[in-house]
C-alpha cells in the first residue's frame, strides 16, 4: 500500500516531479563538476608553475668552486627533477665568451621557458648560442663557431631574457672538461614538489653537507601563495553556488508537499497518522533524490571530463570518488527540503481543506 502510493505519485504528477527532478539533477551535476575540479585544483595549479623551472638550487658553499655530482644522484633518489650546470669562460679568437654546459636530457623540464629558433638541444660537437652571442659574432644556424678549444656547429639560437642570452651553450661533458671539473658542477638546479619543498631541501642538505641547498624564495612563495588564494576563491564561490542550488531545490520540494494539501487532508480524514504521511512524502523525495544524484553524477563526470580537456589541457578532470559526497549532498538537500515543509502535515485540518479553503 505504502509503495503503491509512492509510485502512483510519480506516475500521476509527472509535470511537477519533472521540475523538481530537473532542479535536483542540475544541482547534482554542478556538485559533481565542482567537487571534481576542486579536488584536483592544487595539482593542476602547481603544474602551471612548472614553466618557471627550478625552485631549489644547490650552490657551492664557502670557498668551494663546485658542487659534487653525487647531488644529482641524491635528487634522483628523492624522485625530483634535477640537472647540473657548469659555467666557464672560453676564448674565441681575441674575444671571450661565457660557455654554459648543460645536461640537456636532464635539464629539459627546467629550461622549458627558453624560446629557441632551431634546435632546443645540442649533441656532441654542437652548441646553442644566446641571442646576444649570436648577434655579436654574427652567427647563423649551421655555422661553425670557432671556439679556441675546438669548433662546434651552431644548432639553435635561444632567447630567455636572462643570462643565457649572453652565453654559448654546449653539452655538459664538454664544458666540464674545459672548466677542469671532474664529477662536479658549478651548480645544480632542482625542481621539487612545491608542497614538499622544505623537506626536499633538508634531505638534500643532509646528503650533501659540503654544498649550500637554497630555496628560490620568489617562485616558492609566489606559488604557494597563488595556489592557496585560487583554491580559497574557488571554494568560496563553490559554496555560494551550492547554497543557491539548495535554496532553489528546497523551493521545488516544498511545493511538492504544499500542493498536495488536499491529498494529505483526505489521508488524515481516513485516519492515517501524521508520521506515516511524512514518511510517505520523504520516501518520494528520497527516490527522486537518488535518481537525480545518479543522473547528475553521470552528466557531471562527462562535463568535468570536457573541462579537464579544455581548461587543463590533457589532464582529465574526472574524479570518480566524488560520487559519495555528491549523493550525500543531494539526498541531504532533498530531505531537508521535504522535512521543512512536512511540518504542515501536522497543521492541516482535514475538514477545512476538503471544504475547499
Amino acid at each position: 500500500m505504502f509503495w503503491r502510493f509512492v509510485l502512483a505519485a510519480v506516475k500521476f504528477r509527472r509535470r511537477r516531479l519533472l521540475l523538481a527532478f530537473l532542479g535536483l539533477a542540475v544541482a547534482a551535476t554542478l556538485a559533481t563538476t565542482l567537487f571534481s575540479v576542486y579536488s584536483d585544483i592544487d595539482r593542476k595549479m602547481h603544474r602551471e608553475f612548472r614553466a618557471y623551472g627550478a625552485n631549489l638550487v644547490i650552490a657551492p658553499s664557502g670557498n668551494a668552486r663546485s658542487v659534487p655530482l653525487t647531488a644529482v644522484a641524491e635528487a634522483d633518489r628523492l624522485g625530483v627533477v634535477s640537472a647540473p650546470f657548469v659555467y666557464t669562460v672560453v676564448a674565441i679568437g681575441n674575444e671571450r665568451v661565457v660557455v654554459a654546459g648543460i645536461d640537456f636530457k636532464r635539464a629539459q623540464p627546467l629550461i622549458a621557458h627558453w624560446r629557441t629558433s632551431g634546435a632546443h638541444t645540442a649533441g656532441q660537437g654542437e652548441c646553442l648560442a644566446g641571442i646576444a652571442v649570436a648577434q655579436h659574432f654574427h652567427l647563423r644556424l649551421g655555422d661553425r663557431v670557432p671556439l679556441d678549444s675546438g669548433r662546434c656547429t651552431l644548432r639553435g639560437v635561444i632567447t630567455t631574457g636572462g643570462e643565457e642570452d649572453n652565453r654559448l651553450i654546449v653539452p655538459f661533458d664538454r664544458a666540464a672538461g674545459e672548466a677542469g671539473f671532474s664529477n662536479a658542477a658549478s651548480m645544480i638546479e632542482v625542481r621539487a614538489d612545491a608542497e614538499r619543498i622544505e623537506d626536499t631541501r633538508e634531505a638534500l642538505q643532509r646528503a650533501i653537507p659540503q654544498a649550500d641547498v637554497r630555496v628560490l624564495h620568489a617562485i616558492a612563495e609566489t606559488e604557494a601563495n597563488v595556489v592557496l588564494k585560487v583554491r580559497t576563491a574557488v571554494f568560496l564561490l563553490m559554496a555560494l553556488i551550492l547554497a543557491i542550488t539548495t535554496i532553489c531545490v528546497t523551493g521545488n520540494f516544498s511545493a511538492l508537499v504544499l500542493e498536495r494539501s488536499r491529498e494529505i487532508g483526505i489521508l488524515k480524514a481516513i485516519g492515517a497518522p501524521e508520521a506515516r504521511i511524512a514518511t510517505l512524502m520523504l520516501s518520494e523525495s528520497m527516490i527522486l533524490a537518488l535518481a537525480s544524484a545518479i543522473i547528475g553524477y553521470a552528466i557531471g563526470l562527462v562535463v568535468s571530463y570536457g573541462i579537464g580537456q579544455k581548461i587543463f589541457a590533457g589532464a582529465a578532470g574526472v574524479n570518480f570518488a566524488v560520487f559519495l559526497p555528491v549523493t550525500a549532498v543531494t539526498v541531504f538537500v532533498a530531505a531537508v527540503a521535504t522535512l521543512a515543509s512536512a511540518s504542515r502535515i501536522w497543521r492541516i485540518e482535514p475538514a477545512q481543506i476538503l471544504r475547499g479553503e
Binding site: L19, Y52, V98, H113, A132, H217, A218, G251, I311
Partner: protein, 406 residues
C-alpha cells in the same frame, strides 16, 4: 516569491561575474612577487662576459643608462601597468681574498613622476616582495640615509662570518652590515649598497647598468606572437595598445633610446600560463553559477504561472484575447524580474566584494556595467521561464481548467 528567487539568482550571478573579473587581476598582482619580468639594459656593442655577477671583462665605459631618465619609464602608454622598477649599478671588489659582486640599488624610495608633483614608492624591495631579510634593510628615502651601510647576501655572510651589526670593508671603506638577505638566487653572493654610494666609489655618478621592471601584462596569445614589423597599421595599433610584455618592452625602448628591454621569459611565461588557467577556472565557476541562477529564476517563474492557470482561464472566459493575457503576464514577470534583479545585483556586488576581501584582503571594485547586464539577463530568463507554461495555459480550454479547479 518570484522577486525573491530572481533576486537570489542575480545576486549569485553578479557576485560570480564580479569575482571572475576580479580574481584574475588579483592573481596577476600576486604573481608580481616572482620578480622582474622585464630587464632594461644599455644597448651594447660588446658582449658581457660574466658569471654569477663577476665580470671577466670590464664593461665599456660609455655603456650605461642615465639615472635621471629612470622616471621616464613611468611616462609610457602602459605606465600604470608598471608596478615596480629597480635600477642598479654593478661593480666588484675583494672581500676576504675573493672577488665579490657589489650592487648599488634603490632599496625602497620615493620616485618623482615626470611632469607631475606625484611620486611613487619603488625599488628593489617593492619588486621582490618574496625576499627575506634577517636584520633590517638599508634605509634610503633621503640622500644621506644609510650611506655607510650594506646588505650582504646569505651565502656571502656565511663565508665571511658577518652578522647584522658587524662591519665589513668594501672598496677600502668601512661599512656596517644592516641585514643578511636570502633569496635563493645569485643575490646571495652579493653585497648591496645604496646606488649613490657605489656611484661615488666607482666614479660613475648618475649612471645605471640595468633597470629591472615589474609590469602587469596580458598573457601572450597567438596575436602577440606576430612580428610587429609585419603587422598592418590597424594590427600594430591593437598590439601597441594591449599590455603584452613585448609591447611594453617596445614602449620602454621608445622612451629610452639608449636601452633595450628584454622580457624575462621565465617569469613572463609562468605568469601567462598561471593567469590563463586561473581565468578559465573562474570562467567555469561563473558559468556554473549562471546556470544555477538561471535555473532558479526559470523554475520559480514557471511554477508561479503554473499556479495561476485559473486566473488565466477566468480572463479568457471573460473575453480577454491571448495577446492581452500574455502581455499582462509578461509585464508582470518583467517588472518582478527587474525588481529582483536590482535587489540581487546590489547584494551581489557586496558579495563579490566580500569574496575578494576574504581571499585577497582587498575589496574589489565592481564594474559599473555588471549590474545593468545582470538585471537585463534576469528579466530575459524570467520571461523565458514564464513563456512555456503561459503558452500551455492559453492553449487549454478555459472551461475545462475552471471545472478542474472547482
Amino acid at each position: 516569491m518570484t522577486i525573491g528567487a530572481v533576486a537570489l539568482g542575480s545576486a549569485v550571478a553578479t557576485a560570480m561575474l564580479g569575482a571572475m573579473l576580479d580574481v584574475g587581476d588579483r592573481v596577476n598582482r600576486e604573481l608580481r612577487s616572482l620578480g622582474a619580468n622585464l630587464l632594461v639594459i644599455p644597448k651594447s656593442g660588446s658582449l658581457p662576459v660574466e658569471i654569477g655577477g663577476i665580470r671577466y671583462r670590464p664593461a665599456a665605459k660609455d655603456e650605461f643608462i642615465p639615472e635621471a631618465l629612470v622616471p621616464k619609464l613611468k611616462s609610457i602608454f602602459w605606465q600604470l601597468n608598471i608596478t615596480a622598477l629597480s635600477p642598479s649599478l654593478r661593480a666588484q671588489t675583494v672581500l676576504d681574498g675573493r672577488e665579490i659582486p657589489v650592487e648599488g640599488v634603490w632599496f625602497l624610495r620615493d620616485m618623482r613622476l615626470p611632469g607631475g608633483a606625484s611620486s611613487i614608492q619603488t625599488g628593489m624591495r617593492a619588486l621582490n616582495s618574496a625576499w627575506k631579510i634577517e636584520g633590517r634593510w638599508v634605509e634610503d628615502p633621503k640622500p644621506n640615509d644609510g650611506a655607510r651601510e650594506c646588505v650582504l647576501g646569505a651565502a656571502l655572510a656565511k663565508r665571511t662570518g658577518a652578522a647584522p651589526g658587524s662591519g665589513v670593508i668594501l672598496f677600502g671603506e668601512p661599512f656596517t652590515v644592516a641585514g643578511i638577505l636570502s633569496t635563493g638566487g645569485e643575490q646571495e653572493d652579493r653585497a648591496l649598497v645604496r646606488i649613490e654610494v657605489l656611484q661615488r666609489l666607482t666614479h660613475r655618478i648618475g649612471q645605471v647598468d640595468a633597470i629591472e621592471v615589474g609590469a602587469l601584462t596580458k598573457p601572450e596569445d597567438a596575436f602577440a606572437l606576430k612580428n610587429p614589423r609585419q603587422m598592418t597599421p590597424v594590427e600594430y595599433d591593437r598590439w601597441y595598445c594591449t599590455p603584452y610584455i613585448t609591447s611594453i618592452a617596445h614602449q620602454i625602448e621608445e622612451a629610452l633610446p639608449m636601452a633595450i628591454a628584454r622580457p624575462v621569459r621565465r617569469v613572463a611565461d609562468t605568469e601567462g600560463q598561471v593567469l590563463n588557467r586561473v581565468r578559465s577556472l573562474m570562467l567555469l565557476v561563473a558559468l556554473a553559477a549562471l546556470a544555477t541562477a538561471a535555473l532558479t529564476v526559470w523554475s520559480v517563474t514557471a511554477a508561479t504561472v503554473l499556479d495561476r492557470r485559473y486566473e488565466i482561464a477566468i480572463m479568457q472566459a471573460t473575453g480577454a484575447g491571448n495577446w492581452l493575457v500574455a502581455a499582462l503576464f509578461g509585464a508582470e514577470v518583467a517588472l518582478e524580474g527587474a525588481t529582483g534583479g536590482l535587489i540581487g545585483a546590489s547584494a551581489g556586488v557586496q558579495l563579490s566584494g566580500w569574496v575578494s576581501q576574504t581571499v585577497f584582503g582587498i575589496r574589489a571594485e565592481a564594474s559599473p556595467l555588471l549590474a545593468p547586464m545582470v538585471i537585463s539577463i534576469a528579466v530575459l530568463v524570467a520571461l523565458a521561464g514564464a513563456a512555456q507554461p503561459l503558452r500551455r495555459a492559453l492553449s487549454l480550454d478555459p472551461a475545462l481548467t475552471l471545472r478542474e479547479g472547482a
